[in-house]
């Protein structure tokens, strides 16, 4: 879909935290000077067309006692789709990207316990026969998630 200026204004605003109030979209609509119904219609359209991949709370697994871990695998091209199906079948795989490197599959595991990372990564190794390199974060240097729409 093509985004107009109003869509972009809404999307930029919605990348920031939404107020925790009964009518959050009305609050945003007032900030932007757009009717609430239009904010909701445009958000729905952007979500349906996957301009917005997800809308809602972002949870921190670590704050719940769980863990995140970036993992990478070197998957042979001819096995890529088969391995992908096996990896993505794990609910713990929160996102997964194909990248230009010998290590061509990069995914993030989000688990409810630190042991869950080891368990899931080991299971993927067993199922695919491919080593899962693990890159847990040691330090985080600021997260600015936003991109200008």
């Amino acid at each position: 879909m093509k985004l107009d200026g109003t869509d972009r204004a809404i999307l930029n605003r919605m990348q920031d935290d939404l107020p925790l109030v009964s009518h959050p979209y009305a609050a945003v609509a007032e900030e932007l000077g757009i009717p609430e119904s239009e904010v909701l219609n445009r958000l729905t359209r952007m979500k349906d067309s996957r301009v917005i991949t997800r809308f809602g709370p972002f949870f921190d697994a670590a704050a719940m006692g769980g863990a995140f871990c970036l993992c990478a695998m070197a998957v042979p091209t001819e096995e890529f789709e088969t391995v992908l199906t096996k990896v993505n079948a794990h609910a713990e795989v929160a996102h997964n990207y194909e990248r230009t490197h010998r290590l061509n599959m990069w995914f993030v595991l989000a688990t409810e316990t630190p042991e869950g990372i080891v368990g899931t990564a080991d299971a993927i190794e067993r199922e695919t026969g491919i080593c899962v390199l693990r890159f847990p974060k040691l330090q985080e240097f600021f997260i600015g998630f936003r991109v200008a729409a």
């Binding site: 999307l11 958000l43 997800r54 809308f55 809602g56 972002f58 490197h101 290590l103």
Partner: protein
């Protein structure tokens, strides 16, 4: 760290917040609780950092940010905190982490995600990082993403 009610709330919201005028009232009804009680619980989860924010995750590709480079660097361990902080503060870096090396396959310990409308733009930004790291950087690489294979966010397992 989270109790059974928190867990029910997280399960109800992990697929997303409903796009209706009173989304919390709708979720509260499904959970059989008061809207006010739900809002109170959510504010508690937020203050404890379990919820980082309630927001939209855009699809960078569909916004014309079609190039997404994971820049990786082998940075002197003694200087990683100082330099990582400087790289993380750059306006075009969306995520920046120190991670362990995996020798011999992977000599890099600093990861910085850079987005741009094309690879030339990403390369220009990467050159700025190269200049900042100077001789503290021994090796570098960039991995472009060519496909989103999955993007669902955290999912709690149903507990029986």
């Amino acid at each position: 760290m989270i109790d059974a009610t928190d867990r029910e709330i997280i399960e109800a919201l992990q697929g997303g917040l409903p796009l209706v005028p009173a989304p919390y009232a709708q979720v509260a009804e499904i959970l059989g609780m008061d809207e006010d009680a739900l809002l109170y619980r959510l504010s508690e989860l937020k203050s404890r950092g379990v919820i980082r924010r309630i927001a939209a995750a855009p699809n960078h590709y569909k916004l014309g940010m079609t190039s997404n480079g994971m820049t990786v660097w082998d940075v002197d361990d003694d200087r990683i905190t100082e330099l990582g902080s400087r790289i993380g503060a750059l306006p075009f870096v969306t995520h920046c982490y120190e991670r362990p090396r995996a020798l011999p396959d992977w000599p890099y310990n600093l990861f910085a995600m850079v987005h741009g409308s094309d690879r030339d733009e990403v390369e220009e930004k990467r050159a700025e990082i190269t200049a900042i790291l100077g001789d503290a950087c021994r090796a570098k690489d960039i991995l472009y993403s060519t496909r989103i294979l999955k993007k669902t966010g955290l999912r709690l397992k149903k507990k029986g």
